[in-house]
Point group: C2
Chain length 190, copies 2
DNA sequence: ACGCCGACTTGACAGCGTCAAGCCGACCGC
DNA sequence: GCGGTCGGCTTGACGCTGTCAAGTCGGCGT
C-alpha cells in the first residue's frame, strides 16, 4: 500500500487494464481510483503515453530478469531452451505487461529512449545465449538464429495471450503443457 | 471508386489506419472522408467494433488465399515452407489488416462469429499442410507441430510489423532477405 | 516576513462514440 | 393518383475522454 501518487497511478493502471482491457485504461478513471483530481497524474506523467511507457519499461526489465534467472543449465542449448520457456511463461503470468510491450501505437518508442533501452537489454540476453549456443556460426546465420528463436517464443506467447491459441487452451494447466511440448519439439532440433 | 457507402467506409478506415495508426481510426473522421454525416456509417455497421470486425474477416480471408496460393511445391515440406513464407509476406504487405487481426480488444470475437470462422479457415490451411508433412505423428505431436510452425511465422511477422525487428530492418529488401534466411533455417530442420 | 515551489485542484475545450429523433425521395398496394 | 411504409441519411444531444490553462495552498529557504 504505497502512499506516493506516482506508484499508485501505475498500480491502478495495471489493475484497470487487467479488468477492462487496454481500451479501458483512462487517465481520469486512474485518478478517480487513486482518489485525486483528474489532473493530478499529469504532475508525474506528461501524458497517457508516458504512463504506458513506464509500464512497458518495467515489463521489459521484468522479462530480462526472468530470462536471466531461467538461463541456467548444463549446456548452452538447455540454457537457451529455458530462457525461451521463461519468455512464454512471463507472457502468460503477466499478460497486461506483455500486451503493452508490443503495442507501439500506444507508446511511440522514439519519445521514450528508456523504453527502447530496456527492450534492447532483453534482446541482448537472447542474443548472448544464441551466441553461446552456436559460437562458430557466421554473423548472418547468427542473426537468423536469434530471430528464429525469438520469433518462436514471441509467436507462441502472443498466440496464447491474445490469439486463437489462448481460446483453444482456456485451462492454464493444458496451456503450460502445450507450451512445454512445443518448446521441447523445437529445442530438440536446434 | 465505388459509390456505395458501405465499401467507402471500409476503404476510408483502412486508409485512415495506414496514415495515423490504429488509434487514428475514428468513426467521425471516416464519415467526414466519405462526405457524409457522422451517423451515416451506423446505418451499415452497428458500432466501431463492427467496422473493425469486417476488416478483420477480410484480412483472414486474404491470408488464407495467400497461403493456399503459395502452398505448392514438390514436397509437403516445401509446401509448408512456402505457406509460412506467404504468412510473413502477407503481414509485411498488409500491415493494416495484419495488425487488426490480432488485436482482440478491438473486436471481441465472440460478438462476430464470421470473424472467428474466417480465422479458423486460415488455421485449417496450416493444419492441413502440417498433417501432410508429418502424416504418421501422434495427435499431441501434430498439435505441437502446428503450434510451432504457426508461432514461428506469426512471431516473425509481428516482430517485423510491430516490434523491434521492424526497426532493425527499416529497408524492405533487407527485411525480405532476413525473412527468407530465418524461414530457410527453420525449414531445413523440420 | 516574503517569496518560491512542489503538489495538487478547478474549470474549460474540442473531439470522440453513440442514443434518439426527424427528414425525404422512392416504391407499393389500392 | 395517392397515402403509407421504408431505406438511407441528417441533425441534435449526451456523457465521456485527453489535455491546456490557471488557481490554491502549505512548507521551506533566506
Amino acid at each position: 500500500m504505497t502512499t506516493d501518487l506516482k506508484s499508485q497511478v501505475l498500480e491502478a493502471s495495471v489493475q484497470l487494464i487487467a479488468e477492462q482491457g487496454l481500451a479501458g485504461l483512462s487517465m481520469r478513471e486512474v485518478a478517480r481510483r487513486a482518489g485525486v483530481s483528474h489532473q493530478a497524474p499529469y504532475h508525474y506523467f506528461d501524458d497517457k503515453a508516458a504512463i504506458v511507457a513506464a509500464l512497458v519499461e518495467r515489463g521489459f526489465t521484468l522479462l530480462s530478469e526472468r530470462m536471466e534467472a531461467a538461463a541456467h543449465g548444463s549446456s548452452p542449448g538447455q540454457k537457451l531452451e529455458r530462457a525461451g520457456h521463461a519468455y512464454v511463461t512471463f507472457a502468460l503470468d503477466e499478460p497486461v505487461y506483455f500486451r503493452l510491450m508490443f503495442r507501439p501505437e500506444l507508446t511511440d518508442l522514439r519519445r521514450f529512449p528508456g523504453v527502447e533501452a530496456a527492450g534492447a537489454r532483453a534482446y541482448a540476453v537472447l542474443e548472448r545465449l544464441v551466441d553461446e549456443h552456436a559460437p562458430r556460426a557466421a554473423q548472418a546465420k547468427r542473426d537468423a538464429m536469434v530471430s528464429m528463436h525469438w520469433s518462436l517464443v514471441h509467436g507462441l506467447a502472443t498466440l496464447l495471450v491474445d490469439g486463437p491459441l489462448g481460446a483453444e487452451f482456456p485451462d492454464a494447466a493444458a496451456r503450460t503443457r502445450h507450451v512445454e511440448q512445443v518448446i521441447k519439439l523445437f529445442a530438440t532440433s536446434f
